[in-house]
């Protein structure tokens, strides 16, 4: 089982994501943003949180145009698995791998706190460790997590059961309380909350661990 974690110069949750993958049994390659290809034999690519290029422009916009993102797009389009967390979700929407966009929080302030999420679907490699409808506690930490998609896109997401998580008490103004969405083939997940920050007992909550365990069992079987 091998995961790659992309490292942009301003990524700051790269190590945290690596640790969460490793704890679930993955071996992890850290992949530099200037690289043009993914190492061979990668089962899943993690795009971590942080401020990829300072996010002085739109969050994730410069990262989406970095050399490695070509390789991430190729990986996804070949049916590869990708997990984008926080800034990683922003990058994935900027590349167009996932629909929608992340705008400034409705309250205009950065928010870091542990929030309640509802698991909207258990039908994905990421969420199969949860029950649909299950409520979990996962931290958020972002300034631009206000998810937006137009009506048509929202309808498609709903119809195809592609909303992975929603907020129980919407902290940032996201449309339809959306906290995370899946790609068409259900192999790419983007989410604003940080499951890697709730991945062991020392974090004071470990509801995120089930995601990494579910991914591990997926690839262990493969």
């Amino acid at each position: 089982m091998r995961a790659a974690v992309i490292v942009f110069p301003g990524s700051n949750c790269d190590r945290d994501l690596k640790v969460a993958f490793e704890r679930a049994g993955f071996s992890v390659d850290m992949v530099w943003h200037k690289d043009t290809s993914m190492p061979d034999g990668i089962d899943i690519v993690g795009v971590p949180g942080g401020f990829s290029f300072g996010d002085y422009l739109r969050c994730g916009a410069i990262a989406a145009n970095s050399p490695i993102c070509r390789a991430v797009i190729d990986h996804a389009s070949r049916g590869g698995y990708v997990l984008g967390i926080c800034n990683g979700f922003q990058v994935l929407t900027e590349t167009g791998i996932l629909p929608g966009a992340l705008r400034r929080n409705a309250g205009l302030k950065y928010i870091c706190r542990t929030v309640g999420l509802k698991v909207e679907t258990a039908d994905s490699a990421f969420t199969s460790g949860y029950q649909a409808g299950q409520e979990i506690m996962i931290p958020i930490a972002h300034h631009d997590g206000n998810y937006f998609a137009d009506e048509g896109t929202l309808a498609r997401l709903r119809d195809a059961d592609r909303i992975a998580f929603s907020y129980l008490d919407n902290p940032n103004g996201s449309v339809a309380d959306i906290a995370g969405v899946l790609s068409d083939n259900r192999r790419v997940l983007g989410m604003m909350p940080h499951p890697e920050r709730a991945a062991d007992a020392g974090h004071g909550g470990s509801d995120g661990a089930a995601m990494f365990r579910a991914l591990a069992s997926q690839f262990a079987m493969a």
Binding site: G10, N12, G50, F51, F53, G54, C112, R113, H203, G204
Partner: protein
Amino acid sequence: MQEPAITEELIAAHGLKPDEYARILDIMGREPTFTELGIFSAMWNEHCSYKSSKRWLRTLPTTGPQVICGPGENAGIVDIGDNQAVVFKMESHNHPSYIEPYQGAATGVGGILRDVFTMGARPVAAMNSLSFGEITHPKTRQLVNGVVEGIGGYGNCFGVPTVGGEVRFHAAYNGNCLVNAFAAGLVDADKIFYSAASGVGMPVVYLGAKTGRDGVGGATMASAEFDESIEEKRPTVQVGDPFTEKRLMEATLELMATGAVISIQDMGAAGLTCSAVEMGDKGGLGVKLHLERVPQREEGMTAYEMMLSESQERMLMVLRPEKEEEARAVFDKWDLDFAIVGETIPEDRFLILHNNVVKADLPLATLSGSAPEYDRPWVETPAPEPLPDLPGIDPVDGLRALISSPNYAAKQWVYDQYDSMVMADTVRGPGLGAGIIRIHGTDKKLAFTSDVTPRYVRANPFEGGKQAVAEAFRNLCAMGAKPLASTDNLNFGNPEKPEIMGQFVGAIKGIGAAVSALDMPIVSGNVSLYNETDGQGILPTPTIGAVGLIAADEEPIIGEVRDGHVAVLVGETSGHLGQSALLHEVFNREDGDAPHVDLDAERRNGDFIRANRELIKACTDLSDGGLALAAFEMAESAGVGVYLDTADTATLFGEDQARYLVACNFDQAEALMIAAGRAGVPISSVGRFTGSTVRFGRSEAPLSELAEIYRSSFAAALA
């Protein structure tokens, strides 16, 4: 370009007194050039030279078996076993934050982070201690918004968790806010980097961001009082770029691992001047710089501007020449500037060339070592009048008044804006008591706190100084952490006034007594004087930042209060109301003496808490607001009511020191009482956590009502 002639006005504008200028003439044997005058002013201002405070700082205890590096380097370093060390310091950015709150606070965070990673440590935790004017003052809201956003904007992007801090409001800060930023990092004890240069002819390398005109004269600005010309000082504030800082940190740590670094120093106050002089002076070497090689952001910069610029995210390093290519490759990887701008020279000389023209030629050691030092006259703060009898109040009304004040209401509005969990090792974030992080990959933990009660220090500088240390000690012990060492950030008014100097001297004596008794030596720190506007000084605010260790085989005390737990009070209560939160918030008075600190009792009671951690579910130290506020905060955080037997105002709201409130089950409470009897620690059962009301004697209110006030008052006050 022709440099301006040296006139009396120019000398005064550089903050140099006539006798200080006479000393310059004496050292030089000639009139200084404009650039040289700028260099002297940068080195000799209060901020960089500590000329008013040095004499007293020397009296502080700074050593101990745990101390690897005390004051004098970029940050202090303390041994935490297993070849690991914690590097930490607290530093003020008060003046710039008042002028330009977002950038002032942001660059304060940037500066302290740089101090930590310059020594080879990866920053793992941040805190900040903030003091603002009254919430109703027209400037306060803008300052709070800007400062909090600036701290978050920088720290969140850089990627360090903010795990603790303080926020206070008082009219004395109406004209001068305080922004004290703390950072701590981890380093292998055998891989620490220092600033002393060594070897002649070694390349001096400039690293990081380019030099611009921002912050020219910043350190001199921060060494003066404010008046109506404050708006003109805006250009002296630096602009922060946390993304560059993050890259600079990664590149610096990577560079250190290559073995290329002989010595390294960050460019903080007085930028290139201070860093070059410090490296040369500590190594007993001279330094020659070629300014045209300095990476510049703007065109046509003069030698004066480059030497005094406080552009952020820059470092100066002495390099092993054979490693140049390897070192350059690291900085290329991170897209940062890397330029050899000079070399170390054998003679005692600070030689500045710009396009081969000599702009400054100064004796380096003298420049650094002969800064003026003053023994400022001071007067003892008069003993406060005793507090007259106070009318009784309904105790729950008293609590309501406290928790609806932004001083004691929950600060979630602030802490939500800081990333407290990045690095995924946060065990306890900011809000209640000390913050705790795990040492990555181990079961060891570090706890952090910052404390001071400025009202106490004003009333009684000696006891107030002691109390700041004692409260830090308590906050660490309450989490089960062994206090290791401290950093002091001493914020005062104009030291040329004997009363202010008296506050400073008294506080230093108190801090010294307490860190000695509690074995928390001062390993780093910073002094910020001249916090005055139109002659009005701040409350004396010697902030103490402290670090404690929780060993791998120890559990932190972070359990939750449960319905049925006994409320056990550790320590002696006499009901001291002088200078208390209740007095200030309810009676609108600030009189009486500060509570006196019995350091033996502090030590004994703190040791008792740590030694009996397995009998304690949750614990908090008693400070402002006394037993009533502590009991409420513990109850509220668990969503369980609390009943205290007493309704006596002084018992509930008195601020006697060396006390803790413990929650535990009945059997544990009994065992704790027996242990306390053996240890000679005063202890009593004062009530119970239960139900859904807060009840003091017969006075009560629903917990939900009080919680709503507590949770919403801060944001409401700022709205």
